[in-house]
């Protein structure tokens, strides 16, 4: 191709552009007559013109993306089906004979994720892979391309983006509501699995030909919370879709379920545009998209309930209207002969203030209000039991739960004050107080870390239940006393008081004749057993642990059959194995201990598989893995179990902190794990590492003790100082060892003076005394035994 030919081609092509499209072929034929080379070049130019990839200002985009690989894993890349800010999506087919298997493969652009986020992304994939729901595109696999781009392989959804589907199919209002509720159900399901979508937009909601909703890109955009401060922009911030992203995401790194609620509110507005008369729908959207995350619906379920209520003509919690609105709805429903009042549609967080006022009025108006009074009672029940339980499983809801607990608290106090001589009402209020206290701060289980409020509520409950007296109040009294004992033992480090409280509880239980022992009675007893086991642990009584573990297990045989078949039976068997393992650890029968702890782990793992992220199971699994790590770490041939235990402990702790960031014991748990790691480093002669780790442990326990010098943390601090002494001694740093032993002794004396020294820490007394004397007299120091 000579330059002259090319110049002619350029000139002719330019001239041809001024010829009308329809005449262009003829014009070119004419102009290139007798010059087949020229004709061919011009046709090539025309073809290229239709393909051109050069866009104005597009140069910089060329550097952005590597070419897609030909294949990924077992899949052959067929074509690109989409492209967005994060990267491109390709259609992939399995070419190993399995023709039906079509997948979507998303390749994230390299460099988009910081190292920290890539790691996080890999871990997150495992969670996502477990997210199996009919309305969520299933994630199959993931990895990293040769060029370093993370990718994910997911279910290929043959469908249209939500709004396109709506424009094409023009669904009815009922169909739209159903679609919306399906979307909400999928998001709520994910929240229970501790996954937040983070980028809910109409284009991330696909609708298949059959009208089935499929959410894509679940949780793929990760927040910054994992990345160190000052790091490059997070994926979270990159994936914000204007108009759908919650406002707090622009200013805050912490992404919670409230952000998804916001996006769902925006989605609702698009899917069901409110008309001029739709006051309620407007209110629902406003509530969901409130700029203050706390003012939004606490859960996706609450939002969906309101949409369903609106659709069914029930009152909508988002309408903060007065009595007339509610009453109008109430009458309207009855006039229409609608189904009996369903608590669920009414019993939503926001309705509480409203109903409280209505409750006061209900006292004055008589008969017609009786029905409403029943609603109010169910509200309390719902608030304290159902909703709290539901929220408890949802990640990032600490603030919502604290606020909910506060509201429930006010309601219960009002109910208790109005109860007067009505024992049934009093009983109900007392039950509420116990349930609330459990959520607020009863130790050795997931809680909000509000020990003071829990203590006060338990005191109220015990008072009311004693006043009622008799068999009616017996099982609730046992539950209240058990909770009190847990607070006394773990929270206040007063094991003697806890012993007395549990003795009283046991007496109350025994006072019920065998024939009258209900499921509630058995449930109260199993909780009592666990409290006894916790107490025995704190009192350092291994033999009692073994005895109680056997009893916990043999009790199951006496349960009613329905209860025997439930999850609780398996949970208690797991607990029994755990405490047997703990005993082995305490008496230094490590080989035997590991066997029990592994048994417990297998049981907890099965329970977790059945109900993912059940906080109670996670909690137990975390402690079991922690003890398991401490037990296995010294044993030959248990290296892989040691690693597995520590990984499980870290993972469970991390997930629990997502659910409940306020729980002090969860935070100090991290210190416990580190302490075992430091002991391990010391045993293997990595002295500097051990000292560094243990220094962190001391700082963590000091922080957990706080300005009020919490006894539970101080008792642990004693053991931590002793551990530091041992580590320093092994490292040959006598000065540090002596200083640590002395500090341990000082903390011990402080606790002793407050009568809050636990036996668990007290047992260091003689050893510390001897070593401190050794320090003064320049005598050799002895290694001190550490358990627990």
């Amino acid at each position: 191709m000579s330059d002259d030919l090319e110049r002619t081609v350029l000139a002719l092509f330019e001239a041809s552009l001024e010829v009308p499209e329809a005449d262009r072929d003829a014009w070119i034929a004419q102009a290139t007559q007798g010059r087949p080379d020229l004709a061919a070049r011009l046709q090539a130019m025309r073809a290229a013109d239709r393909l051109s990839a050069l866009e104005t200002g597009g140069a910089i985009g060329t550097l952005d993306e590597e070419l897609p690989p030909e294949r990924i894993g077992a899949y052959r890349i067929v074509e690109r089906i989409g492209r967005g800010g994060m990267g491109s999506v390709y259609r992939g087919e399995r070419d190993t004979g399995d023709f039906g298997h079509v997948v979507a493969i998303k390749i994230i652009k390299p460099g988009l994720l910081s190292e920290v986020l890539v790691e996080r992304f890999q871990r997150e994939r495992q969670t996502l892979a477990g997210l199996t729901h009919p309305n969520i595109a299933q994630l199959y696999d993931g990895g990293e391309t040769e060029g370093g781009s993370p990718y994910i392989v997911m279910e290929h959804v043959d469908g249209l983006p939500l709004l396109d589907w709506v424009a094409e199919h023009r669904p009815s209002r009922a169909q739209r509501v159903r679609l919306y509720c399906d979307i909400c159900a999928a998001v709520a399901f994910a929240h229970r699995a501790l996954v937040i979508h983070r980028d809910l937009t109409p284009s991330n909601v696909l609708v298949t030909q059959g009208g089935v909703v499929k959410l894509i890109d679940f949780g793929i955009a990760r927040p910054l919370d994992a990345a160190p401060a000052g790091d490059a922009p997070s994926i979270g911030s990159l994936s914000l879709t204007p108009g759908y992203a919650a406002p707090e995401r622009l200013t805050s790194n912490a992404v919670t379920t409230a952000a998804d609620v916001y996006s769902l509110g925006k989605l609702l507005e698009k899917l069901l545009p409110p008309g001029p008369g739709d006051r309620e729908l407007v209110a629902i959207v406003a509530r969901a998209t409130a700029s203050d995350p706390l003012a939004r619906y606490a859960t996706v379920d609450a939002l969906a309930d309101d949409v369903a209520a609106w659709n069914g003509g029930f009152p909508v919690s988002a309408v903060a209207g007065g009595k007339r609105y509610r009453f109008g709805k109430f009458l309207g429903r009855h006039r229409l002969g609608a189904a009996a009042v369903t608590a669920a549609t009414l019993l939503l967080v926001g309705a509480l203030a409203l109903t409280l006022a209505a409750y006061t009025r209900a006292q004055t108006a008589q008969r017609a209000e009786a029905a409403r009074f029943e609603e109010l009672r169910s509200l309390a029940r719902y608030m304290v039991f159902d909703l709290n339980g539901r929220l408890g499983r949802v990640v990032g809801n600490t603030a919502a739960r604290v606020s909910l607990a506060g509201r429930a608290q006010r309601y219960l106090s009002a109910l208790a004050a109005k109860a007067g001589a009505d024992d049934a009402l009093k009983l109900e209020a007392a039950q509420g107080f116990v349930a609330l206290a459990n959520a607020q701060g009863v130790p050795a289980q997931p809680n909000l870390g509000d020990l003071a409020q829990a203590r006060a509520n338990i005191a109220s409950a015990v008072g009311m239940l004693r006043a009622i007296g008799g068999p009616v109040a017996a099982t609730d009294l046992v539950q209240a006393l058990t909770a009190r004992a847990m607070i006394e033992a773990h929270g206040d480090s007063r094991t003697d008081a806890a012993t007395a409280t549990l003795a009283e509880a046991e007496k109350v239980l025994a006072g019920i004749a065998p024939a009258d022992r209900s499921q509630g009675w058995h449930d109260a007893r199993r909780k009592l057993r666990r409290a006894q086991l916790e107490l025995a642990t704190l009192q350092n009584r291994p033999d009692r642990l073994a005895q109680l573990a056997s009893r916990l297990e043999s009790d199951i045989a006496e349960w009613p059959s329905a209860m025997r078949a439930s999850r609780l039976a398996e949970l208690d068997r797991a607990y029994a194995a755990h405490y047997r393992g703990l005993r082995g650890y305490l008496v230094d029968a490590l080989d035997e201990g590991v066997v029990h702890l592994l048994d417990a782990e297998a049981r907890f793992a099965r329970l977790e598989a059945a109900v993912p992220n059940d906080p109670v199971v996670l909690y137990a699994r975390m402690y079991n893995a922690y003890i398991g790590y401490g037990t296995a770490t010294g044993l030959a041939g248990r290296e892989s179990e040691t690693k597995r235990f520590i990984a499980i402990a870290h993972d469970a702790n991390e997930r629990l902190l997502k659910i409940e960031a306020n729980d002090i014991s969860l935070r100090s748990f991290g210190a416990n794990v580190r302490q075992i790691e430091s002991q391990n480093a010391s045993t293997h002669g990595r002295h500097a590492e051990a000292i560094a780790l243990q220094t962190q442990v001391l700082a963590l326990f000091e922080a957990a003790a706080g300005p009020t010098r919490r006894a539970a943390a101080l008792n642990r601090l004693v053991a931590a100082e002793v551990t530091m002494g041992n580590i320093a001694r092994a490292a040959g740093d006598r000065a540090l060892a002596c200083e640590s032993y002395r500090r341990g002794q000082a903390v011990m004396r402080e606790l002793e003076g407050r009568r809050e020294l636990l036996d668990q820490a007290k047992r260091f007394q003689p050893g510390l005394k001897a070593n401190i004397e050794g320090c003064a007299g320049d005598m050799p120091l002895a290694k001190m035994a550490i358990f627990g």
């Binding site: 552009l17 990839a53 050069l54 200002g57 060329t62 952005d64 390299p110």
Partner: protein, 185 residues
């Protein structure tokens, strides 16, 4: 910025035909452009910046716009576009030579073409296009590398806007064909 007045003066001197002023302008402009482009490629900056945004930002940093006529600004942007070409091509080269090096690159959402361009090959094609029709090559610099509007290009080149559009279409078609059928390989 304290070097603005001097840049303005250079710009005026360049416009009155002083070639030395142009070279000094380039000296001033290039490091700024390279720095912003590199920062964007390392994804330190706003991810939505296009080449045109980068150039405009650079120009704003260097020049007191209110003292510069629109046509002067366009000339300046055209100059910057050429530098952007060098910066990006250099970048593509270094990327090609160190394939395994983990490249921090950024996303651009405004282009959604089917094909990804290889800048190294585009550079070869542009060199050949310059030999055939230098004006077309400059048009590509201004539009593809500089993100300039047809109006601004018309101002710089003295062509009418329809002509700019038509010539851009010619350049685009020729390059696309050249990239699909490279003669030198």
């Amino acid at each position: 910025m304290e070097h603005r007045p001097e840049t303005n003066a250079l710009l005026l001197r360049w416009q009155t035909g002083e070639t030395g002023a142009r070279d000094r302008l380039i000296h001033r402009l290039y490091p700024e452009l390279a720095q912003i482009a590199a920062a964007r490629l390392r994804k330190e900056r706003d991810s939505s910046l296009s080449t045109g945004d980068i150039i405009n930002e650079t120009v704003l940093r260097l020049v007191q716009m209110e003292r510069v006529s629109l046509s002067d600004r366009a000339h300046f942007v055209a100059l910057a576009s050429r530098m952007m070409r060098h910066i990006l091509v250099d970048h593509a080269r270094s990327k090609g030579s160190a394939k395994r090096q983990h490249q921090k690159v950024e996303l651009v959402t405004q282009i959604d073409g089917g094909q990804r361009l290889d800048l190294n090959r585009l550079e070869s094609a542009l060199i050949r296009l310059k030999a055939l029709d230098e004006g077309l090559m400059e048009l590509v610099e201004m539009r593809y590398f500089g993100g300039m509007t047809t109006g601004d290009i018309a101002g710089v080149t003295g062509m009418s806007e329809p002509t700019v559009k038509r010539r851009w279409q010619v350049a685009r078609a020729w390059l696309t064909d050249a990239l699909a059928n490279p003669i030198d390989q």
